[in-house]
């Protein structure tokens, strides 16, 4: 297992449901601290790590962001010795029966999500897809133990164990978007010995899955000249092969559309080609659905770009990603960063958005 793979296993073993990113944030802070010059946590919990430019005086800054929060569940009611649930972020209720989860109550409790059997459901025909009203967590705890230790509002995370498949692929919960946190880490390692012309902020944002809270607030605070969001994108999977999906393990995606500054798009493509890094163009006609949406409209506006890492079975506890693509995303970022000069900002954007 290489360093990034074992770091990912560590990341995937930590909870970090949107709004409750503390445990995963701490793991990232420890990993990034030796790779950066300055590190702090924002008012809302995002992690800001600075690699300072070696150029004296005023210099441009780049923000690279990956969200560290994940989808999950929350306790909405406790009755009949069972814990009734709602979702945090988009979770298809149909995937939930039979899922292993951790309830973050007075301490951590393992449980299984299940649905009411058909014979006990009167208001819909037997054999239907379960909705949240029929889904609960069974912990095996007594009603008294539950009452004392678990409360409405407690967060529930998926407890699927990270698993390496076929040597080069990884399965687990929260690969959306810890895969990108790992890509940023690859980047920070690649540029460790470089003298940078720009300031670089590596940011692990909070609450992307809910309101892109971290991206809004961190971009405002750090005021970068350019922002790049790294996020997972849809990989081709059995039964799913549309323009929105990309082959798994065959390269990263570079976004294209209203959320993407055309000059940055061209620039990243050139950088990828210089190092023979495979990529696809990801068309985003309706926006990117990533942190870049918030970054772009922060303050007086920020030119943004999205790098995508293809991932199968998004928003399930068994997402799948190719380790190769994570390394590629990190290397592409590193290439872009190390080729920036003090004049890049002006030459990139002198023509406005065209």
């Amino acid at each position: 297992m290489n360093q990034i793979e074992s770091f990912l296993h560590e990341l995937l073993s930590a909870p970090g449901v949107a709004g409750f990113e503390g445990p995963v944030c701490e793991i990232i802070r420890k990993r990034w601290e030796p790779l950066t010059d300055e590190i702090h946590i924002s008012r809302v919990g995002s992690l800001h790590a600075l690699r300072r430019s070696s150029i004296p005086g005023k210099r441009p800054s780049l923000m690279i962001a990956a969200h560290m929060d994940a989808i999950g569940l929350m306790v909405k009611d406790i009755r009949d010795g069972l814990i009734w649930i709602t979702s945090m972020g988009g979770v298809d209720p149909r995937i939930l029966p039979g899922q292993l989860v951790t309830i973050h109550g007075a301490r951590e409790y393992t449980g299984v999500v299940q649905m009411l059997p058909d014979r006990l459901v009167k208001h819909q025909p037997a054999g239907g897809a379960p909705g949240y009203s029929q889904l609960f967590v069974d912990t095996g705890l007594s009603a008294n133990e539950i009452q004392a230790n678990i409360h409405i509002g407690d967060v529930i995370s998926f407890a699927s164990a990270p698993t390496t498949l076929g040597d080069k692929y990884l399965s687990g919960h929260s690969l959306d978007n810890r895969a990108s946190v790992a890509a940023l880490t690859v980047c920070l390692e690649e540029i460790k010995d470089y003298r940078l012309q720009w300031d670089l902020w590596a940011v692990a944002t909070v609450q992307e899955e809910v309101r892109t809270v971290g991206a809004h607030t961190s971009t405002f605070e750090l005021k970068p000249d350019v922002g790049i969001a790294v996020d997972v994108t849809f990989a081709q999977e059995p039964g799913l092969s549309t323009y929105e999906t990309f082959p798994l393990g065959k390269g990263v995606t570079i976004g294209s559309g209203g959320n993407i500054h055309p000059a940055l798009h061209r620039e990243l493509k050139d950088r990828a080609e210089e190092i023979d890094l495979p990529y696809s163009i990801e068309t985003m006609p309706k926006g990117s659905g990533t942190d870049a949406m918030a970054m772009q409209i922060s303050s007086a506006g920020v030119p943004t770009l999205v790098i995508g890492i293809p991932l199968r079975y998004m928003h399930t506890p068994y997402e799948m990603v190719a380790l190769k693509d994570i390394h590629r995303a990190g290397r592409l970022l590193a290439r872009f960063i190390t080729t920036l000069t003090s004049g890049s900002l002006e030459s990139l954007f002198k023509g406005g958005a065209a």
Binding site: R119, L120, G140, S142, E237, P238, A322
Partner: protein, 357 residues
């Protein structure tokens, strides 16, 4: 009182854990059978594996012309078989035994003899419409994905099962295949006991989930005078949806002791054996419950109509979420089931069958 001989402590739980984690899909029970053979080898007088794969073990009695008493539990579990190769590392699969399609989306599985990890994938929620989310995804559309890195490492015909790992939380036991590894573990514990006046016949059966196929030939072979079948039955002891009414369709309840069968879809239990068991339970203060008469069935369905007929009764350890990735049973129920059957094994003789039926 014999109660205190019923010990379920670390070694028994370790064994149940091993049995629950082992892979033994109907038609492919070898891994479970090997574990059982290892355990019972020093405990029984003879054992063999029959043509179907049933493991048949006998403990002799010194009593002449003794009653032949059969105890049966099935080794197999529901699971999957890869039936067609799809794109790199992905396979279409079929269910082996009855599995609700609604339990399948986004689940980890183990494939083949080497237990290759894989997942049953589920489409991203972002790319589904509300109408789609209101429908159950049919099994035919699902794939087991071993990742493109595993292309060629599995083959059509390989078996697969849920990758759940057993755990215990207080009195609760969670794991896959507790239907019927609880029964298998129970029979192993019974084999530790010295028989009374009966010849004791243990059948660890195959292919129960495919239609009680192993039990039929095991019973033919053993030619027992009576049979006790140990299984796991669903506990539907959950609230009604959007109603304060009492749940009268619970089948059986967790924590209420062994569930004794009166009648299911395959068998009307022999009333003499029901009475034999309930009398023991009452005399010894062992809690028990009757499983609500109705559908479902156990190996008794095949055993009781073998040869000229075998008086049979089933006893189940209640379990929630049968045939799903994770079942939930109670340690206390298992313990009380074992206590009841300990007594049954010791006391069983021909006189039971002399009573009126």
């Amino acid at each position: 009182m014999n109660e205190n001989r019923v010990k379920i402590s670390r070694p028994q739980l370790k064994l149940l854990e091993k049995l629950s984690n082992a892979v033994g899909v109907s038609g492919n029970e070898d891994e479970v059978r090997q574990i059982v053979i290892e355990e019972i080898r020093p405990l029984v007088d003879e054992y063999r594996v029959d043509r179907m794969g049933n493991l048949l073990a006998i403990k002799h009695t010194k009593t002449a012309d003794a009653a032949r008493v059969m105890f049966a539990a099935h080794m197999d579990e529901v699971g999957f078989m890869l039936v067609q190769a799809d794109t790199e590392g992905c396979y279409a699969f079929e269910a082996v035994g009855g599995i609700d399609e609604r339990q399948l989306l986004a689940k980890p599985v183990l494939v083949g003899k080497d237990h290759l990890p894989g997942v049953i994938g589920s489409k991203p929620v972002h790319l589904t419409s509300p109408a789609e989310r209101a429908k159950v995804t049919p099994l035919g559309q699902l794939r087991i994905d071993l990742s493109p890195g595993c292309a060629g490492k599995a083959s059509v015909g390989d078996y697969a099962t849920f990758a759940t790992r057993f755990w215990r939380s207080g009195d609760s036991l969670f794991g896959k295949a507790l239907d019927d590894r609880l029964g298998v573990a129970t029979l192993i514990e019974l084999a530790r006991l010295n028989p009374g006046t009966a010849e004791v016949l243990f059948a660890f059966t195959v292919q129960e989930e495919l239609g009680l196929r192993g039990a039929r030939v095991a019973a033919y072979d053993f030619e027992p005078d009576m049979a006790f079948v140990v299984d796991s039955t669903p506990a539907f002891d959950l609230p009604l949806d959007e109603s304060e009414d009492e749940n009268v369709l619970y089948n059986c309840r967790l924590g209420a002791g062994p569930a004794i069968y009166l009648a299911d879809a395959g068998t009307i239990s022999d009333p003499r054996l029901i009475q034999f068991l309930t009398r023991i339970a009452e005399d010894c203060g062992i809690p028990y419950q009757f499983r609500q008469p109705g559908g479902g069935g156990t190996d008794a369905g095949a055993i009781h109509i073998t040869r000229g007929g075998v008086p049979s009764v089933s006893v189940s350890v209640p379990g929630r979420y049968a045939h799903s990735p994770i079942l939930h049973a109670r340690l206390s129920d298992w313990k009380n089931t074992l206590a009841l059957l300990y007594q049954a094994l010791e006391k069983a003789d021909r006189s039971i069958l002399n009573a009126d039926r």
